[in-house]
Every structure is written in structure tokens, then in C-alpha cells.
């Protein structure tokens, strides 16, 4: 049974599509640790600005955003929070929540990671320096744990999904032939 050119092209397309699908899932696993690492390093900058310089949040957010990679969602998150905070009467909690809602979906962070950031928002700007730093440290240590988990998950699933994509494509092709 000879395959027609059309069948070969179709099989190729199926395999290509499922490979891409596998790589997309795999890339989420590889992107999340990177985003978490960037986030913790940005929050550490924020912590320094609060602990040693006592910078008001709007200024601190601006500085943090300039430390981030330009154009990346996390840098834009802090940029947006800073801009919102400069509106008269805006509380830090609201500005932070709005900025999170706008920019976190463009990252590989999951709902559980976002939860940590939302909780951090409840304390932002409403407590003294010692407590503020304690809240930041708590968020940082949770996020560091998440990062470690994410690295493990990447090691476990990144290759799996990449291979799975190719194999699933092959399976479909074999079943259809």
C-alpha cells in the first residue's frame, strides 16, 4: 500500500501540530521558574528600597520596574502599579491589585503564585517598615519555594511533553493510516 503525496503531507502536518502543542506546554514549564526568579529578584529590590531608603511606594515601584527586563510583563507590572499610585487618593492595595490583574496573565505565573502577590498587596503601604519587610520576606520565601518546585516540575515534565507531542502525532498518524 503506497502512500500518496497528499497522505504524507497530511501526516507531516499532524505530527508538526502535535509537536508544537507539546512544546507549548513544555515551554510553560520552562518559563515559570524564569518568571518566578525574575519576580523574586524584583521584590528583593523593592525590599531594599523600603528597608534602607524608605522610598515611597510609587518611587520604589518605578525603580523596581527599571531594574526589570524592559518590555517584560513583570517590569510592566511594577510600572503600571507606580503609575496608578500617582493618582490622588489611590491606595497601594488597589493600585497593586489592578496592576496584577492586568499584567500577571501575560506571565507563566499560576493562580497560586498570584495569590501570594495578592496577599502581599493587603499589607503594602499600610504598615510600618518592620512589618512591611516581614510581609515582603514572607512573600519572598513562599515564592522561592514555588521557584524550587517549578524547577523540579520543569526537570520532570519539560522533556515529557516535548516527546509526548511528537509521539502523540505519530500515534494519530499510525491510527489513521
Amino acid at each position: 500500500m503506497a502512500l500518496t503525496w497528499l497522505q504524507i503531507a497530511g501526516a507531516g502536518a499532524v505530527i508538526a501540530a502535535s509537536t508544537v502543542w507539546g512544546r507549548m506546554i513544555a515551554s510553560e514549564y520552562s518559563q515559570r521558574p524564569r518568571d518566578l526568579r525574575e519576580l523574586t529578584s524584583l521584590l528583593r529590590t523593592l525590599r531594599t528600597d523600603i528597608a534602607y531608603h524608605r522610598l515611597p511606594l510609587a518611587d520604589a515601584f518605578s525603580r523596581v520596574s527599571s531594574q526589570g527586563k524592559e518590555g517584560r510583563a513583570l517590569a510592566r507590572l511594577f510600572e503600571a502599579a507606580a503609575a496608578l499610585l500617582r493618582q490622588p487618593g489611590m491606595t497601594a492595595q488597589t493600585a497593586w491589585a489592578v496592576a496584577l490583574g492586568e499584567h500577571v496573565p501575560h506571565t507563566a505565573l499560576r493562580a497560586q503564585d498570584r495569590e501570594i502577590l495578592t496577599t502581599l498587596g493587603h499589607s503594602l503601604g499600610t504598615v510600618g517598615a518592620t512589618e512591611q519587610i516581614a510581609h515582603l520576606d514572607a512573600a519572598l520565601s513562599l515564592l522561592t519555594d514555588r521557584e524550587r518546585e517549578a524547577v523540579d516540575e520543569r526537570a520532570r515534565y519539560e522533556r515529557v511533553y516535548q516527546t509526548l507531542g511528537v509521539l502523540a502525532g505519530l500515534l494519530i498518524v499510525i491510527m489513521l493510516i
Binding site: R54, A58, G89, T91, A92, G125, T126, V127, A129, Q132
Partner: protein, 338 residues
């Protein structure tokens, strides 16, 4: 063809009206500082903006108390404007720049100083630590925005009381109840002394101000917001006692000024200042001579001979009225010369 041009015309009118509104806002903020207007929630700001120019110049404090009407001290109580938690949250967010930790130190003392020397006092639920020291204030229930104003020339009449033989400046305390205009007088006195304008027999003097609460010079990022004189140096935000010694060492002043002295540590520093041959001028809270005598620190100060004039000021003819004058032995004196 006609309709669009008509619409265009309406547009232009509305733009013109818009411009008028903007201009009106600019004129009022000339009387009332923008730094204060910008703090207020929009509806409260509107009430304050709508005051007449005369009312605005009389306005001394804007007080907001939870669930009670807005009080415009010096003008009226705005009974229609009941302060909600939302109002107070707005003010606290703008006052602290949404960052309590940044003004924590100031909040512990009960107030925050703004650009322009205005002072925002706060009352509410106080959090204390194990040693009963105030750690912070949360659940804010009252906010008092006190406007700082410079009244140029208000201290000129002091020259009749605080100069000896027209050219020796006497160490002086300006005493009075809150809102009696003590700080305003002190500020103008710094300007007159630093410019050499208090008396024709007295050249410009090097004045050092230890401005613990940023009220006298109203420094914002190092620059005095008020005119405090040509030869005047300001140490901003520094505790008084440490600041007085610091200024003695670093600026070799001829006159040293601080606001609201009271503690024994202040008195010790003032005594040392006068031993160093520097003329001290300060303010303190006291209504009468017996108020002074009841305070041990002040008694010590007088005993040390570090003060030679005490001016009691009040509001009899507006803030800053000089009501009584005493010498260092608490004997009443009349104007030394006219």
C-alpha cells in the same frame, strides 16, 4: 454643511468655559497651597476651593473627624459635609504617599510635615510596644491639616522688646497657646535677623534653625520653602538637643532658633548655647507666667540666665499679638524703646 459648524461652535464654547475653570483654580491655589488642596478628597477639595478669597486667607486648619462634619477652622463648620471612612482613607493615602513605612517616624509623633511646611496631625487607634512607646497610629479617626503661612513683617514689632540698646539681641522665648502664631513670628524673626532688617543698628546675623518638625523653614528636599533670611542655615528634621550642638559646631551661628522647647535635655543644650555666646530664640507652649513657673525645665533655664526676654503672644488682635513681655527674672517690661 451648517450642522457641523454649529457643533464646532458649541465645542469652542465648552473649551472656553473649561479654560475659565482652570484659570479660577490657579488663582485660588495661589491663596491656598496646591500641596494642601491635592491631599483632599475631591468633594472636600471642592468646598475649600469654593471659599471666597477672604475666607481662604482666614482658613487656618482643615479638620476631618470620622462621621462628623468637616471643620474649616477660622471660617466655618461645613455641616453638610459628613466625613466618611473613605475620606480619611483618601487623605491618609495622599499624606503618606500610600507608604506608611516612609513616614512611620513622623506618624509616631502624631503628624507628618508636607512640602511647604504644612502639618498634618493624626489621631486614632495607637499601637504601642512593650515599653509603652508609640509604634504607630492605625484606624485613623481624625485628621488635622494645619496650614503654614508666612506673614512677612509680622516680627518687625518685636524689635521694641528683644533688643538692648538697639544693637544687642536678647535671648528670647516666645510663649503662647497653640495657634497663637508663635512659629509664624519665629519664622519672620529669622528672616529679619538673617537679612539684617530687624534694626538699622544690627547687621545681618548668621542664624541657625534647628527645625525638628520642618515647621519653621518648611524645608522640602533641603530647600526652605519659606523666606528665612539670607544668612540662615537650617538643620531639618533633627532632634533639638543633638541639632543645637551640631549647629554650634558646624555653622558657628550668632543666633540659634528652635521651636517648642520643653524637655530637660533641650534646656541643657540651650544653657550650653548661651555659654558659647550664641543668642538663643525659641518658642514654647505656655499661656501665663505661672504656666512657666510650673515647669521645672523652664525654671532651670531662667535660673541659668539663658533667657532675658519672654514674650507672651495670643490672638487678641489676630494671631501673633504680643500681649505681655517679661525679662529673665519674670518682671514685666514695657517696650524698651519706640
Amino acid at each position: 454643511m451648517h450642522t457641523p459648524s454649529h457643533i464646532h461652535l458649541t465645542d469652542r464654547t465648552s473649551i472656553a468655559t473649561g479654560e475659565r475653570t482652570v484659570n479660577a483654580a490657579v488663582t485660588t491655589t495661589d491663596i491656598l497651597p496646591g500641596a494642601v488642596i491635592d491631599l483632599l478628597p475631591p468633594d472636600v477639595a471642592l468646598i475649600v476651593r469654593n471659599l471666597t478669597a477672604a475666607q481662604q486667607s482666614r482658613l487656618e486648619e482643615i479638620r476631618m473627624r470620622l462621621h462628623r462634619p468637616l471643620e474649616l477652622v477660622g471660617v466655618a463648620i461645613a455641616r453638610g459635609m459628613i466625613i466618611s471612612p473613605e475620606h480619611l482613607r483618601h487623605v491618609m493615602a495622599t499624606v503618606t504617599g500610600s507608604s506608611v513605612y516612609a513616614v512611620e517616624q513622623e506618624l509616631r509623633r502624631g503628624y507628618v510635615t508636607l512640602a511647604g511646611g504644612h502639618r498634618v496631625g493624626v489621631a486614632g487607634r495607637v499601637v504601642v510596644d512593650e515599653q509603652d512607646h508609640v509604634r504607630s497610629i492605625r484606624d485613623v479617626g481624625s485628621v488635622n491639616i494645619r496650614l503654614a503661612r508666612q506673614i512677612i513683617g509680622s516680627a518687625e514689632r518685636l524689635s521694641a522688646y528683644i533688643l538692648e540698646e538697639r544693637h544687642r539681641l536678647l535671648p528670647t522665648l516666645i510663649a503662647g497657646p497653640p495657634l497663637s502664631g508663635k512659629t509664624t513670628l519665629l519664622r519672620d524673626l529669622a528672616r529679619l535677623l538673617g537679612n539684617g532688617e530687624l534694626s538699622s543698628h544690627l547687621g545681618p546675623l548668621r542664624v541657625a534653625i534647628v527645625d525638628e518638625r520642618s515647621e519653621i523653614a518648611g524645608c522640602y528636599k533641603g530647600a526652605p520653602q519659606f523666606d528665612v533670611g539670607l544668612l540662615t542655615d537650617v538643620l531639618d528634621g533633627c532632634p533639638k538637643q543633638a541639632g543645637m550642638y551640631l549647629m554650634l559646631r558646624s555653622m558657628a551661628p550668632q543666633v540659634l532658633m528652635t521651636d517648642e522647647i520643653g524637655s530637660a535635655a533641650d534646656v541643657q543644650a540651650i544653657a550650653d548655647v548661651s555659654l558659647a555666646g550664641v543668642c538663643f530664640i525659641g518658642t514654647l507652649h505656655a499661656r501665663t507666667v505661672s504656666d512657666l513657673q510650673s515647669r521645672e525645665a523652664v525654671r532651670d533655664l531662667l535660673r541659668a540666665g539663658a533667657i532675658e526676654r519672654i514674650l507672651f503672644v495670643g490672638r487678641k488682635h489676630g494671631p501673633g499679638t504680643i500681649e505681655r513681655v517679661y525679662d529673665g527674672q519674670l518682671r514685666e517690661v514695657t517696650a524698651a524703646w519706640h
